[in-house]
């Protein structure tokens, strides 16, 4: 048997038909077709991300400041959790390739165990991604959006750390009339409402001389190159007048991290990848049960494991690129 399973028979005339000139079975060829086309789809997404980023190169959010959370731990740990997710996915890729290897040697039990570990790894990854989404959507500091749709973030002048809205916003008791179903023919449920009103944030900001505003603009040269612009107190007092809306967390319209497109691409690209991981886990489970039932033992070869393995590795491959372009660069 070859290193990669081939079910064709070799004849002397390679291109004369009736054989497999590329040494790959029909199913494997089709898996490769799918992978190449899917790779082009993902490339399209990432290239579009690159387009938006180059377009707003001076104001794009800095990923290190956005993805700083680790479950069960408080504090600022940029990159650590994403690195962990990357490692989990590479690890499950390894168990997958070990399953394929065991399949070539027709070791049913080894294939079962390695497939099982692969599924566990995939599940951990999807779970991590769900957690990361939840954290991203919830947000942590809150921000203010200006008339022009720019995001203003707040900094504590003493520590230099980010200041959350709840640290300084003034609670102003106010009456708020809720629209109810009984009062109108056209009733829509009230949508999402931030914890503080713009007025409360502004008042709190004016009352706390320690709070400064940080804008989206990244210094392009000089000592602070690559850092977001921090305004002085005087400039901040002037800037807060432009504030229109309080933004907490992220949705598809606006987010507290900066450019609106940032969150859109985050949801779209990692969501599409997460969906691939999810479907990969489902396919893995199907194959896993087939292995247990002995389907491939009776068939005489484990090519199906190899094919689903190709898909699984592809998902890992895509993540390597998403990791680089979303979190590192």
């Amino acid at each position: 048997m070859e290193s990669t399973v081939t079910t064709g028979t070799a004849t002397e005339n390679v291109w004369g038909g009736g054989n497999k000139p590329l040494g790959a079975s029909y199913g494997k060829m089709m898996m490769w077709f799918f992978i190449v086309s899917d790779a082009l789809t993902f490339s399209g997404f990432l290239a579009a991300y690159g387009f938006s980023r180059f377009k707003f190169i001076e104001t794009w959010p800095i990923a290190d400041e956005v993805f700083t959370h680790v479950p069960f731990f408080h504090g600022n740990y940029p990159m650590i959790y994403v690195a962990f997710m990357t490692f989990i996915l590479i690890m499950s890729s390894v168990t997958m390739v070990l399953a394929v290897d065991a399949g070539h040697k027709m070791k049913q039990n080894a294939v079962i165990w390695y497939m099982f570990l692969t599924i566990i790894g995939g599940a951990i990854f999807v779970g991590s991604q769900a957690w990361e989404w939840a954290t991203f959507i919830k947000g942590d500091f809150g921000a203010v959006e200006t008339k022009g749709g720019r995001i203003l973030q707040f900094i504590d002048a003493e520590t230099g750390e980010r200041a959350a809205l709840s640290d300084f916003a003034k609670i102003i008791p106010s009456e708020r009339a809720n629209h109810e179903r009984k009062n109108g023919v056209w009733f829509y449920d009230e949508g999402y409402r931030p914890t503080f009103s713009m007025n409360e944030v502004t008042e709190g900001f004016l009352a706390n001389p320690n709070i400064l505003i940080r804008t989206e603009a990244i210094h392009q040269e000089g000592e602070k190159e690559g850092e977001k612009t921090l305004l002085t107190r005087e400039e901040s007092l002037e800037k807060i007048k432009d504030g229109k809306l309080v933004v907490e967390g992220a949705n598809l319209v606006r987010n507290e991290y900066g450019s609106r497109l940032f969150a859109d691409f985050f949801f779209f690209i990692t969501g599409f990848h997460g969906f691939h991981v999810f479907s990969g886990v489902v396919i893995n489970i199907i194959i896993f049960f087939n292995v247990i039932l002995g389907t491939y033992e009776r068939r005489g070869h484990y090519e199906m494991v190899e094919k689903v393995g190709l898909y699984w590795h592809f998902v890992d491959l895509v993540w390597v690129f998403v990791f680089t372009f979303f979190y590192l660069v």
Partner: protein
């Protein structure tokens, strides 16, 4: 065992006794590369963030090159491209490389142009 795996990586610099050993070897290599990426991403050495090549920070070039290195080993050793016939491998690899380079080239140039239009144009958008 008649497995026709090619058991060497780094152009024959590192040879493995069997396929399982090669898989673990590749895992160790990929983990090291990822660790280097993460460390560079956390510490961001000033030398690398303040020097440019073709309009992009040196650090970002390093990230992209390391990513391609990782992609190479995932495709070659995990997806068995190393063991496939040359024609199949080339069809799979060069098609996307050609199309993606073209797309990226065009989109990034266009984006840079749009950036300049915003920067030098008369419409105020950053307010």
């Amino acid at each position: 065992m008649a497995h026709a795996h090619k058991l060497e990586i780094f152009r024959g610099l590192l040879k493995f006794k069997n396929n399982t050993q090669k898989i673990w070897g590749v895992l160790i290599f990929l983990s090291i590369v990822t660790a280097v990426e993460v460390l560079l991403g956390i510490y961001k050495p000033r030398v690398l963030t303040h020097s440019y090549f073709l309009g992009m920070k040196l650090l970002n070039w390093i990230f992209i090159v390391l990513t391609l290195v990782k992609a190479y080993y995932i495709a070659w050793d995990f997806m068995h491209l190393r063991d496939e016939k040359t024609a199949l491998r080339r069809a799979i690899v060069w098609t996307p490389i050609f199309l993606v380079s073209y797309l990226v080239f065009i989109l990034l140039f266009e984006a840079d142009y749009v950036y300049n239009v915003y920067k030098e144009g008369f419409i105020k958008w950053n307010f």
